[in-house]
């Protein structure tokens, strides 16, 4: 059966929401032969991520996915409700659309796709129903995660083989296309994607004064802006700045496939939030994560929960590996001395990389979020069919 899906995305800030929804939409269309409509409330944000998107068109076809512009308050009440409705990150659907859902002869499977977290409580909430207080509709919570009791992580079917095929030659072609000089012997290449971060200033100082040549690829936005401010030098996309051992390239805004290539081409990746955090894991290279900053330091709880899972096997690989990774990640998130932690971390890069490979093979066994989600939808439909038949008897 070819299912029709609606995915609703509200762009709150940055590009994480639309980045994840776009990946999910493409994968469902491509790998599950689903008819997918992706509803986006901010086409301008989407167009930055994907230049094929036109900000002027409320309805357009991008590859296999139909893209629609939506607003909660002005929503066409005649839009036909499909078989499956995804509400990404509890974005709250238009009331007229919810009304139409309840009028449908067979209610659609309604999923709230949640945020990624390594915390234990997620397993207990994954796939639970959420009956609506005012109607007979029910939605289900679906949580990405790192264990078999969760939905896993987004990963396209071909991603790992594409990653494996990306060799030095491909990397060198990528650098050339971006107008970046070829890699020098002994040079360490680092990608930088972060939120406002107080640890960046001391880290830049360590990189400037170190004996090792470090090239930092600052992504468009916070990373470039902070580097420019801290180094007291303008940094326009495509420009380069050298101070001591540190060279900084300010990157233009990259598409998703190019951001993957950047991750695959560097030696260490600084990532943030959710989407780049997941992509860095599939890159199978050392990375350092800055979670989305939250009140009451909730992000630090999430950081610790991930580190606990991620480092479970580290002690068996090397006695000091876990501490080196943990201290560097903590320091990057404002807990500890980033200068000392970076030196310890960078001394252990080959071990970190080996650990990362083992972690990825563990993640790979979980399946992937899109297919796990599609399987769950089918499971609910089967369950409903059984209930429907038994009540008819």
């Amino acid at each position: 059966m070819r299912r029709r899906w609606d995915i609703f995305c509200a762009v709150v800030d940055n590009f994480g929401d639309i980045g994840i929804c776009w990946r999910l939409a493409q994968q469902l269309a491509d790998e599950r032969a689903a008819d997918v409509r992706l509803w986006v409330d901010d086409l301008a944000a989407f167009a930055r991520l994907n230049p094929a998107v036109s900000v002027a068109d409320d309805r357009q076809q991008i590859g296999l996915v139909e893209v629609r512009h939506w607003s909660r308050d002005r929503f066409d009440p005649h839009v036909e409700v499909p078989d499956v409705v995804i509400e990404a990150f509890a974005c709250e659907l238009p009331p007229t659309y919810v009304e139409a859902m309840s009028c449908r002869q067979l209610a659609p499977v309604w999923i709230n796709l949640e945020y990624l977290s390594a915390e234990e409580w997620v397993e207990g909430c994954h796939q639970l129903a959420s009956p609506r207080p005012q109607s007979s509709l029910s939605k289900y919570f679906f949580f990405p995660g790192f264990t078999p009791q969760t939905g896993g992580l987004l990963r396209e079917r071909e991603l790992l083989s594409q990653r494996a095929a990306f060799d030095d030659h491909a990397a060198s072609e990528f650098w050339t296309r971006l107008g970046i000089e070829p890699r020098r012997d002994g040079e360490l290449r680092v990608s930088l994607f972060c939120y406002e971060n107080i640890a960046l200033e001391p880290l830049l100082k360590v990189w400037q004064s170190g004996s090792e040549a470090i090239t930092v690829f600052a992504t468009s936005g916070f990373a470039t802006q902070q580097c420019a401010r801290l180094l007291d030098h303008p940094l326009e996309p495509g420009t380069k700045l050298q101070q001591g051992s540190l060279t900084i390239y300010a990157l233009p805004f990259l598409t998703q496939p190019d951001y993957d290539r950047l991750l695959w081409s560097c030696d260490v990746n600084f990532v943030r939030g959710e989407d780049s955090f997941v992509r860095a894991q599939w890159a199978q290279l050392p990375f350092i994560w800055q979670p989305y900053p939250q009140s009451e330091e909730t992000h630090l709880t999430k950081l610790e929960a991930f580190l606990e899972r991620y480092l479970q096997s580290a002690a068996a690989e090397s006695p000091s590996l876990g501490a080196a990774i943990s201290q560097c990640w903590q320091a990057w998130n404002g807990r500890g001395d980033i200068a000392a932690a970076w030196l310890e971390f960078s001394n252990q890069l080959p071990l970190v990389e080996r650990h990362q490979m083992a972690w990825v093979s563990q993640l790979d066994r979980l399946g992937d979020l899109s297919n796990n989600l599609a399987d769950f939808v089918e499971q609910i439909e089967r369950r409903r069919l059984v209930t429907h038949h038994s009540s008819a008897l």
Binding site: A90, Y115, R132, P133, Q294
Partner: protein, 190 residues
């Protein structure tokens, strides 16, 4: 009727879900992402007794209902219903299947004051006092040796024929205290 956010639900609250009263057994709050939160709610459907686990956004709104409660005593059973009587001799019938495990504490002539809960003027449940006293109808004699009270044996309660674990020293005809929440033997009455 009042409105409460899922994040503020507490055990004992009765929330309306699709026109059905659900009594919260447990509500656990967790921060998810971007300062949002979710609440996992274990709740009992008051009309069917079914217990479910669901999850809600912490800012989801629910109507909260206040249930009427009356002190009553148990009177008799007509086979289909248990009949309770309040201080003004009004009778309330509760279907036997709705009493579930609570029926094990019922016995002829019991004087325990129970709390009958009403939803839309229909009695939907009974709460016993936390401690009740019941008589042992049958138990095997204690094996000699251990008198510490840690060794337990089975005993049958008078009237309900319910089987309970009691200390080895308890004998036929003894009156014992039972915790109705845990369903466990507390002590022998002196």
């Amino acid at each position: 009727m009042s409105i409460r956010l899922a994040g503020d639900l507490r055990s004992g609250n009765v929330m309306m879900v699709n026109n059905e009263p659900m009594q919260v057994v447990k509500a656990v709050y967790n921060k998810s992402g971007r300062n949002a939160a979710v609440v996992k709610v274990k709740a009992k459907q008051l009309l069917t007794g079914r217990v479910t686990e669901n999850v809600y956004k912490a800012d989801e709104k629910f109507e909260i209902v206040m249930l009427e409660k009356k002190d009553c005593t148990y009177s008799y059973s007509d086979g289909n219903n248990y009949v309770f009587v309040d201080g003004e001799y009004n009778q309330y019938e509760i279907p036997c299947e709705d009493m579930a495990d609570q029926a094990r504490w019922l016995c002829e002539g019991m004087t325990d004051v129970c709390e009958v809960t009403f939803y839309n003027e229909t009695p939907i449940g009974v709460e016993f006092p936390q401690t009740i006293v019941r008589e042992i109808a049958y138990t095997e004699p204690a094996a000699r040796g251990d008198t510490s009270g840690k060794v337990t044996k089975s005993a049958i309660l008078k009237d309900s024929k319910y089987e309970i674990q009691v200390s080895a020293f308890v004998e036929i005809g003894d009156k014992i205290e039972i915790d109705t929440v845990t369903g466990e033997f507390k002590k022998r009455c002196t």
